[in-house]
Symmetry: C2
Amino acid sequence: MQYHLNGFQSGDPSVAPEVAHGDNVDVLIVGCGPAGLTLAAQLAAFPEISTRITERKSGPLKIGQADGIACRSIEMFEAFGFAEKVLKEAYWVNEVAFWRPQPDGNGLHRADRIQDVEDDLSEMPHVILSQARVHDFYLEVMKNSARRLEPDYNRELQNLTRTDDPDYPVTATFHCLDTGSIEILKARYVVGCDGARSTVRKSLGHTLNGEAARQLWGVMDVLAVTDFPDIRLKCAIQSADHGSILIIPREGGYLVRMYIELDTLHEDERASDRAVTADMLIEKARDILAPYTLDVKEVAWWSAYEIGQRVCDGFDDVPDAERGVRAPRIFIAGDACHTHSPKAGQGMNVSMADAFNLGWKLAAVLRGQANPTLLHSYSQERQAKAKELIEFDRDMARLFSAKPKNAEEAAQFQSYFKKHGRYTAGVETRYDPSDITGDENHQALAKHLKVGMRFHSAPVIRLGDGKPMHLGHTIKADGRWRLFAFAGAEDFGQPDGQIAQLCQYLSTNPDSPIKRFTAQGHDVDSLIDFRAIFQQAHQDMRIDTLPDLLLPRKGRYGLIDYEKVYCPDVKVGPDIFDHRGIDRTKGAVVIIRPDQFIAAVLPLGHFDRLAGFFNNIMIQQ
Amino acid sequence: MQYHLNGFQSGDPSVAPEVAHGDNVDVLIVGCGPAGLTLAAQLAAFPEISTRITERKSGPLKIGQADGIACRSIEMFEAFGFAEKVLKEAYWVNEVAFWRPQPDGNGLHRADRIQDVEDDLSEMPHVILSQARVHDFYLEVMKNSARRLEPDYNRELQNLTRTDDPDYPVTATFHCLDTGSIEILKARYVVGCDGARSTVRKSLGHTLNGEAARQLWGVMDVLAVTDFPDIRLKCAIQSADHGSILIIPREGGYLVRMYIELDTLHEDERASDRAVTADMLIEKARDILAPYTLDVKEVAWWSAYEIGQRVCDGFDDVPDAERGVRAPRIFIAGDACHTHSPKAGQGMNVSMADAFNLGWKLAAVLRGQANPTLLHSYSQERQAKAKELIEFDRDMARLFSAKPKNAEEAAQFQSYFKKHGRYTAGVETRYDPSDITGDENHQALAKHLKVGMRFHSAPVIRLGDGKPMHLGHTIKADGRWRLFAFAGAEDFGQPDGQIAQLCQYLSTNPDSPIKRFTAQGHDVDSLIDFRAIFQQAHQDMRIDTLPDLLLPRKGRYGLIDYEKVYCPDVKVGPDIFDHRGIDRTKGAVVIIRPDQFIAAVLPLGHFDRLAGFFNNIMIQQ
């Protein structure tokens, strides 16, 4: 954490100095779910942006339905500054056990037990924690922000209209459920994070398309006593005659979630028609787990639902035919865009990823850094991901519900489960080439930092203070782009080296994106945060001969920022160059978007390509 | 974290359900410094104990003077549940650089650069963080406790008297500085954590003894620009002609603390007589650092002081002659007991260690678990440590202030610094044999888990859920004793194995300390928390054949606690048995005190020795 830059301040450094509130709303967020809160927390990072977030309910969520948090989401939480809180409270999914009928038909046996997340897939684990707690952490980030952002509860959106107002062209009418009054808000942008029955989506005339699934499932969170030995492991259990159950141990060491396969629904039948009760779920779970016993002491929460995979035909208010003419003003994100089964634990995660994708783009446009056309990329990138999710979920649900006729089929499920570990970890997301995602022409310079995928962190040592840390954790949710320059083997920052030459270009050349696009009077790293990673052990590096751009003067005092230079962690075996396949001879520059996705991998000397990339997006200051 | 044992509860699990407050004060703590707050946070863990903590100042500390936090203190913070907050905000002291005059006399050169904390000295780093933030974290723990404990500010202690009241024999009279009124409190116990000028100490007739030192030092926290390359490393700099400076980079990446050697004081002269100013400190720092420049932009805090090493002649209200007759009722802790130079960064750490030593003892007596004679051990243990500290500090200060006449003498200082890394890390504390610290007869069974020293953690895998974690982090500041049984190589919990036999003894034998001393109706692990560590990889262990005591039924529902059994982490090389020198053939039982100190190492089969140990301390229930 860096603080005290503009003078010493006592107190909690995560609480920003408060700024005055304005009346004008830059972004109106409808809905306080994972998507809405991620977006609100992101926008709250910018004191100059005025955000409102509304919620139909009367207060914060107390009991959450979603609970699976993918590795990728925790990487994002780290960027928001609360990963450690999640890691502390959560259940960690370290392994998955697969149980199947004994070959002789008598009861169950553990057929396999595998690591849930493969080694070095992420520095973060896969965890389980109530969605309500994730909400709490986001709310805290918002509350600590310069505008002390808090949701407006008891607000039911009635309608949304576009007007001719050039600045605040969207008008939202709310019914205040507590007072009965009507509130009208005008906003520059509106984002509907208002769930599967989204009013914002309806106002755009979009619909969720897909098949209504017929498989009925039950889910319950229980405190129970059992002699089933793997009750504290994630387990996929397929019984011989009673269907399947998925066991997800939960936070706190005692609570367990069970997803239980129920019947296939008839045509036009709904989950609610079956009058499912908690007792029915318990009985079914007992049947599946037999001969193991299950003595349920308390049902903390339960529900019954049918699996449906549906995705929206549009994620914003611009029809494809008008893409070239106008930029979007209204968006939808999260469950408003896609619904799917909870089986793969993707619900909360994909919704948060939607919002994280949109947040920095809205901020860049509102702060005058980027052209509003940037906003088209939200729909382009996230709609494609939603379709992938639906496909994945359909396969997964089908396999999960299928009765394994033999060991071979059961093994099929198991292998599918393993194969898709990367997908469910959230690290397989790859955006297609666009203005903000470059080509793969120079991918060979950093083989495992894939263009279009999230920056995969690795351990390093910070030169200034010798601290062992994760390079990826320097990427905060602060709207900044990152330029990570990985040095060639002979380069230790000397004046004739490639790193120094790149610094020279970035600091002085009029075509340099830092020179062109950084706002007047702002710190040199306020738009593009340049950092360098050398191959020498940190004890062998000299600080005093480094280029100025790697020791930038910042803030009102012009203090030196000593956190721009990193070295390999030679104590722990293979280093970041090995782990991420970086060309040790040539080095590489990696451009990273504010949402941690890799925009480009370029040779160190290709200044024009570097400049060209930012020229496509940014507005000259 | 374990929670939801007695039913599902939404919200922050670190906030305990609130209980009603009583009027009677079990423990009155005078003073809200590190010692007072550590003690208050410890006592707050017990809903049945009524604690009051008073402070002369009008509110929480905003700017702290102490800043060094030893590895051992962070281990303790982990037990209180806020280590991760400290680690996140703090500066990490990873290395120390030693600068000396160039051999040719022209300026300075870096003579050496070493790791600050040697490998595997602790799983925690040595860090720097404002004392005010440490206070904040303690205050949060207190506020979240069942009694929602908060300090009473504006209370100046006027006097303390002993009465004949058998229950509440100590009467404290406070002057309320905000209202001008007088408040009288009666308490069972009083602990003076009221600093070097302690009123509690004076009321006991104790004095601080030692020599007044003549060396004047200045300290300042600054935001500055310098070309001195190691400004973000802890540095000990000895100049040729201008004395010494100690540089301690601080949290947030920009702030730096400098301890600057000033003049030797004349007889009877005080620091205040010299009219030191911040500008004088800056000038002196410039002289020492030359030819490097120092441009101070802001002085966040500064002070001038003389080094004095003093220790109190008594830590409680019982004269040695009366030790056999009565147990203490009034104690002093922290700066009230010892004062010394800040050079070794021990101030805050030793004070917190005092309170952590006392806290569990007071709680055990108040909760009826232990005989009040236990309270003698506070003075016995901590007075010895205070004397060691004073000796250490005297050597350190002398060496630091000595002008190195040659390279050899300078190197001497350096080697002393290295050698005492363990001491300053706080992990060298070793209590002498007593009722609560056994002998070394069986030390060979666990060579590196030294009797009388703190339990040194190591990585393990939790069997129930396959979680990689630190065994030491299961020891929370909850007043419980721990029995860690390390299994022999052939023991995997089978009924005829030593672990199963120990479980059998502990669960059923009338002499078992768990049977004798655990209160009626309380969980089986509420007094003594028994855990076992096996040598097999966790995938090779079976849960369903383990003894019941390792899968205890707890709480109102009789839920099973799955967090009692651990296995080696085979992925990371040498395992806990290797690291801690545990006899792989014979195994060992380690008894750990509630303050994480090792009370005894015993053979697995020596039930009588085990019982005997607890019989000396505990009260039969």
